[in-house]
């Protein structure tokens, strides 16, 4: 967000803020310990608003749940923005001092009246108005989101529409107020920190900036390609067009985790060469030419970065099985096999090199990470305590670069509902499982809900199916069979599947790989389907 890519706030701020919005986030199930901090906030008097198509367990804690239609987030945010402006509740001093683009933004949201907001989102105008007023008038407020915002064809615009609300009200850059994307995987933040992005070097340093590139080239003794690389959806495109012929997959299971499973099968199967480095022989690995057995969690050392930008150490507790080795070992071995003289560094040595090149990590020695229970970046030097919240500069005399309000327009989900595909299918996680279930499938959870289609009781009744009945779920791309689970948290026309059981029910055979041109994220969250009873 206007600078480094990380949540602006700390978890502890959830406990002391006045208002919390969870937008497209079912943190109660997907981020349970983050939700503990939210709960403390609730008990301390914070109001909770949850924006989510489903009335999730998180939403059941809310003072108000706004059950918008899937993919209508921008319309809701823009309607809130307009309402805040027309009610004169925007923070004019902050807008003048710290932001740019207000006039254009105000003009752009002018068309998003409460009535239009209701038409697009389904949420009653009164509830939109209430949330707008509550957010704008709260002394402090946190706006949190997860994949419900980002797994859409317009993911980046979705995020920008929320950032706009924070800038409009001054709810960023001070203790208690902020913007919090809660990360779905233990090091998705750290991956970004480390430069695992097509356009960034470690520490969010722009790969297309020659000075920054030069610093790394000096340190590494190599020439770095001066252009950004491909994000995942562009890689898919390149595979489709035959421009990408070889793939090195580290700890991913794209055959099952990516949208439009049939297309993925075709792409991976059509490669000249694929290496998969993983702790399991995943279905993706089964397609590989070479599989490198990786050491996994608890078997290697390293660091990860959490959703509050806290860098923490991972430690080795047990020996990896058989021939498995850590990712660093494999990478260096592959490099040596390719003729480079790469000694294998320890995790700490690799980290110290990173610290020397990434200013935001400069002060994070292993010793300090140990002593302080992790450190929140930026932490430029060893006297720095780490950073509780970002963008405090926006409230200072010298704000630095102004934070831009962005013009974003709502567009409907790419996969439209019609008479043939009348039901919206959305996807997500359940409490006890994780992603494609490669790890969580291996413990015996009494709470496991296997591959099922969650459906409202009303839809089930009109289809003449009941709990446990098998149905076929058909999208424009494929069909899968699954049993029905009745779920009162769904309204008619909305259905839900978890992503954890691809071997039983491969939901990504249904999803669309329409993707956001800005982030490369596919629209997992909005699929049009019809449901056909399977005669028993």
């Amino acid at each position: 967000m206007f600078g480094a890519g990380g949540g602006t706030s700390s978890y502890r701020e959830m406990e002391e803020t006045d208002l919390i919005i969870l937008w497209g986030s079912n943190a109660r199930e997907a981020h349970p310990i983050f939700f503990h901090h939210v709960l403390k906030g609730i008990h301390n008097g914070a109001r909770l608003y949850v924006v989510d198509p489903r009335r999730t367990p998180s939403a059941q804690w809310a003072d108000v749940w706004l059950g918008l239609d899937v993919g209508s987030d921008i319309a809701l945010a823009n309607a809130m923005g307009r309402e805040i402006i027309v009610s004169d509740l925007h923070n004019k001093a902050f807008i003048d001092h710290a932001t740019s683009g207000f006039e254009d933004y105000a003009a752009a949201v002018e068309g998003y009246t409460l009535a239009r907001g209701e038409t697009i989102t389904g949420v009653p105008a009164e509830a939109i108005r209430e949330l707008a007023h509550a957010y704008a008038t709260a002394p402090t407020a946190q706006l949190c989101w997860t994949l419900g915002i980002t797994e859409h064809h317009d993911a980046v615009d979705n995020v920008l529409s929320l950032v706009n609300l924070a800038l409009l009200t001054g709810h960023v850059g001070r203790y208690g107020s902020g913007l919090v994307p809660i990360r779905g995987q233990n090091n998705v933040q750290g991956g970004g920190d480390m430069g695992a992005l097509p356009n960034r070097l470690p520490g969010f340093q722009d790969v297309e900036n020659p000075d920054l590139r030069a610093k790394f080239e000096d340190a590494w003794g190599v020439t770095i390609p001066p252009k950004r690389g491909l994000h995942i959806s562009l890689m898919h495109e390149a595979m489709d067009e035959g421009r990408l012929r070889a793939l090195y997959v580290v700890g991913e299971n794209p055959l099952q985790s990516e949208a439009d499973g049939e297309a993925m099968q075709r792409r991976l199967g059509g490669l000249d060469f694929m290496v998969v480095q993983d702790i399991f022989l995943t279905p993706t690995a089964e397609l590989a030419d070479v599989v490198l057995p990786a050491a996994g969690w608890a078997e290697v050392e390293g660091t990860v970065t959490s959703s509050e930008r806290r860098v923490q150490r991972m430690r080795k507790a047990v020996q990896p099985p058989g021939e498995a080795m850590g990712d660093i070992e494999w990478l260096c071995m592959v490099a040596r096999a390719m003729g480079h003289d790469w000694p294998t560094p320890t995790a700490e040595e690799a980290w110290d090199e990173l610290r020397s090149l990434s200013p935001m990590h400069g002060g994070m020695s292993y010793a300090r990470l140990e002593e302080m229970g992790g450190i929140q970046w930026p932490c430029p030097d060893e006297s720095h305590p780490g950073t509780l919240f970002l963008h405090g500069r926006l409230w200072e005399e010298d704000t630095g670069p102004k934070a831009p309000l962005s013009v974003v327009e709502w567009t409907a989900p790419v996969d439209p509902l019609d008479d043939d595909y009348p039901i919206r299918l959305t996807t997500g996680r359940r409490l006890d499982s994780f992603n494609t279930g490669v790890q969580t499938g291996r413990y015996q959870s009494p709470r496991r809900i296997a591959g099922v289609l969650d459906l409202s009781p009303e839809d089930a009744e009109s289809l003449g199916v009941g709990e446990g009945d098998m149905v076929q779920i058909v999208s424009r791309r494929g069909r899968v069979t699954a049993p029905i689970r009745l779920d009162r948290s769904l309204r008619p026309g909305l259905s839900f599947m978890a992503v954890h059981f691809p071997d039983d029910v491969d939901v990504n055979r249904l999803t669309i790989d329409a993707w956001d041109p800005k982030s490369g994220t596919a629209e997992f969250k909005a699929t049009a389907v019809r449901i056909e009873p399977v005669p028993s």
Partner: protein, 597 residues
């Protein structure tokens, strides 16, 4: 909150019973109908959780309707109030009047087997009932029965409380010839606290007013809150519920707390064995309690009051409910009370069979919809009481005495009684006496005089008097000249407690009496703190061993053990229940009433 319910659903009758208390569900999200007009928005959260205090009334509604609380009904209540079912179950199983096990016979007879009734025909009654209805709690037919601790009908023993599903409660006292009139032991003469009881029509506000009712509210309004509190301070009135705290100081504490968000409560959970004075007041003069509580609200600035009435007092509850309704109708409750510009809302709450809820902090928890477990003090209720707000809790008799202070004037009131115990006082005399009942006398009257009034029965010779109920102490015949005052009772190692005087003649076998007292505390301990939860059990076990002559290591060792238990319960229990659970037993040991070799 994200509660998860069992799959059982309520019956239509259960749903209606709950809806009568909570109103109809407004949304599918809180258990309403199948329509999904609200599929895009739901409200709840804090607003719903704030209604948790309706849990106890809702449980009553279901129990009253069905005679037990089914899984489906509990689930529906939980859904409506956003209460996790395990917590609601924890609350339901706390109270003796709620059944959560297998469905019960439609008629349930709760037969008192406590100290007084067992001496006054209760033992025979139990045998008779067992012959007709079968073993306790196992009757499968139309009627079933179970034992109950003291029902507060000691003047009309033996007593039973009958619950009929769909109809409600009825007190049978005595069991074979119900007297519904208020019984007052003595000649009416110069009564103050009891002067209207049994004289006015308790169901009629007009009758109350004709007898001078509500003139003290006018007087209070005339002298203002400070005037009321100053009067109470001068009067020396101290609480009559057992703790003897000066009421003026209590009210001043609450009055000085800022803001209108504070409470006054009438503690009408009269459950001390041998005590029934508050019942007589409420059944005979219910408006007096409401008037006094209204004055409490006026004086302290509390805009909301509760009367927490014992669940085993259906007559008092019905009369009070009617009286509250009439007072609202007459503008004597609600906004702008009596045209004097202050607000006072009053709500009646029913207990459900738990002695501990007479402890003020347990009473708060009970009203709030939690288990009736006491809290550690400090903080004290005047600072942190009901819903965490400043609260004045007063016993029924104390509140009625406030009217007396205002009526006769603080100085006159203070001139009655002794230096430290002032005003008229009610005593409940029962047991081996010929004229059991409530007696009003000035503080300082001797125990002997009370026995003369009530007439010693049984053998005609006093063996011991239990002063203050199960939490009180035994006094031997050598101490009959003690003055019945706070200080006089203290001098002989007793306390006045609730004003119960249970008389035992000199032919009494005290072994079973002490075992029954011990069982009372075992049954009534909330179970929160270790000294009381386990100590009351070990105390009862020891007394059963002594009563049956099967001691461990001889009597002297049992006495040592009981002494150790008494000490830890007194020193380390959270609340007064544990702290007094051994008082009567230790006093009996000192008097040599039981455990003599």
């Amino acid at each position: 909150m994200d509660i998860r319910l069992l799959l059982d659903r309520p019956t239509a009758a259960e749903r209606e019973a709950v809806d009568r208390v909570l109103g109809s569900a407004t949304s599918d999200w809180d258990g309403g109908g199948p329509s999904r007009a609200d599929g895009h928005v739901a409200r709840g959260g804090r607003a719903t959780r704030r209604r948790r205090h309706l849990l106890l009334p809702a449980l009553h509604a279901v129990q009253d309707e069905s005679g037990s609380i089914s899984r489906g009904a509990l689930g529906y209540i939980c859904e409506r109030l956003s209460i996790p079912p395990a917590e609601a179950y924890g609350v339901a199983t706390f109270y003796a009047l709620f059944d959560t096990g297998k469905p019960r016979a439609p008629v349930m007879v709760h037969v008192c087997d406590d100290l007084v009734c067992m001496r006054r025909g209760g033992a025979e009654l139990r045998i008779r009932i067992e012959e007709t209805l079968g073993p306790e709690r196992e009757g499968a037919g139309e009627r079933s029965w179970g034992s109950s601790p003291c029902l507060g009908q000691c003047d009309r023993a033996p007593a039973a409380l009958v619950h009929t599903a769909g109809t409600g409660y009825e007190t049978l006292a005595p069991y074979d010839g119900v007297t519904s009139q208020v019984t007052i032991g003595q000649d009416r003469g110069e009564l103050t606290l009891l002067r209207r009881a049994g004289v006015v029509d308790p169901a009629s506000l007009d009758s109350y007013r004709a007898a001078g009712g509500y003139s003290m509210l006018d007087r209070a309004i005339g002298i203002g809150p400070e005037g009321v509190i100053a009067s109470l301070e001068i009067s020396g009135l101290r609480g009559r519920g057992g703790a003897a705290f000066p009421i003026g100081a209590k009210w001043r504490g609450v009055a000085e707390a800022m803001g209108p968000d504070k409470f006054v409560i009438a503690n009408a959970d009269e459950s001390e064995p041998g005590t029934f004075k508050d019942r007589v007041l409420m059944e005979g003069d219910p408006f007096a309690l409401i008037e006094a509580l209204t004055i409490a609200g006026f004086a302290t600035g509390a805009t909301k009051g509760f009367i927490y009435v014992r669940g085993e007092y259906p007559v008092a509850e019905t009369l009070l409910a009617g009286a509250v309704a009439q007072a609202y109708e007459a503008g004597l409750l609600g906004r702008d009370v009596a045209g004097a510009g202050f607000t006072f809302e009053l709500e009646l709450r029913r207990g459900a069979g738990a002695y501990i809820c007479g402890e003020e902090t347990a009473l708060f928890a009970s009203i709030e919809g939690h288990r009736g477990e006491p809290r550690q003090k400090p903080p004290f209720p005047t600072e942190c009481g009901l819903f965490g707000r400043p609260t004045a809790v007063n016993n029924v008799e104390t509140l009625v005495a406030v009217l007396a202070v205002l009526e006769m004037g603080a100085e006159t009131f203070a001139s009655i009684g002794t230096e430290r115990s002032k005003g008229p006082k009610l005593f409940c005399v029962s047991g081996d006496v010929t004229r059991p009942g409530v007696y009003e006398v000035p503080f300082g009257t001797t125990l002997r005089h009370m026995l003369d009034l009530a007439g010693v029965g049984g053998s005609g010779r006093v063996g011991a008097v239990l002063v203050g109920g199960a939490a009180g102490a035994f006094v031997g015949p050598e101490s009959l000249d003690m003055e019945l005052t706070f200080e006089g009772a203290g001098a002989v190692g007793a306390g006045l407690g609730s004003g119960a005087l249970i008389v035992f003649d000199d032919e009494t076998d005290f072994g079973p009496v002490l075992a029954r007292i011990a069982r009372f505390f075992r049954d009534e301990s909330c179970g929160q703190c270790v000294p009381c939860r386990i100590g009351t059990v070990r105390q009862e076990e020891a007394l059963v061993r002594i009563a049956t002559g099967r001691t461990i290591g001889g009597l002297e060792e049992e006495r040592t053990r009981l002494g150790d238990l008494a000490r830890v319960m007194t020193d380390a229990s959270i609340c007064g229940l544990g702290q007094t659970a051994s008082t009567a037993i230790q006093s009996a040991m000192r008097l040599g009433l039981a455990g003599a070799p």
